[in-house]
């Protein structure tokens, strides 16, 4: 049985983008990681509260969930959900999506806390790629 870790939810307008990134972050972070994609609005580009809520429920093992999002209205969709979750157990990280997802997944898989995972994701804003 895997240890409990902070869950990661990746919200994108694109099903494929969210899914592919979850695969990449999950591979770098290894088997302990719990990275759940939440992309698309049905067959269209967009974000869906239902999809995001289901992903949060799937990612949440009790130690909290960090959400990362792509652009614009995905943030609004998430904010709408978080307004009903005032206890801070679900956090939205202000981070670049790819870098933030990989950093969050590795940090979470190492067993670090919700706050530490949020910081690791947000710190990626200033990191150069090479």
């Amino acid at each position: 049985m895997l240890p409990e870790v902070v869950g990661i939810v990746l919200v994108s307008h694109s099903v494929e983008l969210a899914r592919g990134l979850a695969q990449l972050a999950g591979q770098v972070a290894g088997g302990e990681a719990r990275v759940v994609p939440a992309g698309g609005l049905g067959d269209l580009l967009g974000t869906s509260s239902e999809v995001v809520e289901a992903a949060i429920a799937e990612a949440d093992q009790g130690d909290g969930v960090v959400i990362l999002a792509d652009l614009g209205s995905s943030i609004l969709t998430i904010r709408g959900i978080l307004d009903h979750q005032p206890n801070g157990h679900i956090r939205l990280a202000d981070a670049p999506l790819v870098e933030g997802a990989v950093a969050a997944a590795v940090t979470a898989a190492a067993g670090l806390t919700l706050e530490e995972v949020v910081v690791a994701a947000e710190e990626t804003r200033g990191v150069s790629k090479f």
């Binding site: 591979q27 770098v28 972070a29 290894g30 590795v106 940090t107 190492a110 990191v127 150069s128 790629k129």
Partner: protein
């Protein structure tokens, strides 16, 4: 008490410090309080930052130097040695 400890690792053939090996390297480092750095050639990275480690671009067959500073530095270097052994 602050101590420092160091280790040289030659990455085995077929194991660059990318993707999954980089992830397991960083996860091993995150278990310690010590400041841990990893250098490759002229570049040095925080061993606890996956993006910094990926940016090193350390290819298979190359040598990396791991340095830990802090109260659990010796244990940290031991853990990184175990990580390196697991690559063989």
């Amino acid at each position: 008490m602050s101590v420092s400890s160091e280790l040289l690792i030659t990455l085995p053939a077929g194991v660059p410090l990318h993707a999954r090996p980089a992830g397991s390297f960083v996860k091993a480092a995150l278990g310690f309080k010590s400041r841990i750095t990893v250098s490759h050639g002229e570049k040095e990275a925080d061993a606890k930052s996956i993006l910094a480690v990926l940016a090193l671009g350390a290819d298979s067959g190359s040598e990396i130097r791991v340095r830990a500073e802090g109260e659990d530095a010796a244990a940290a270097v031991e853990a990184m040695r175990s990580w390196s052994d697991s690559l063989q």
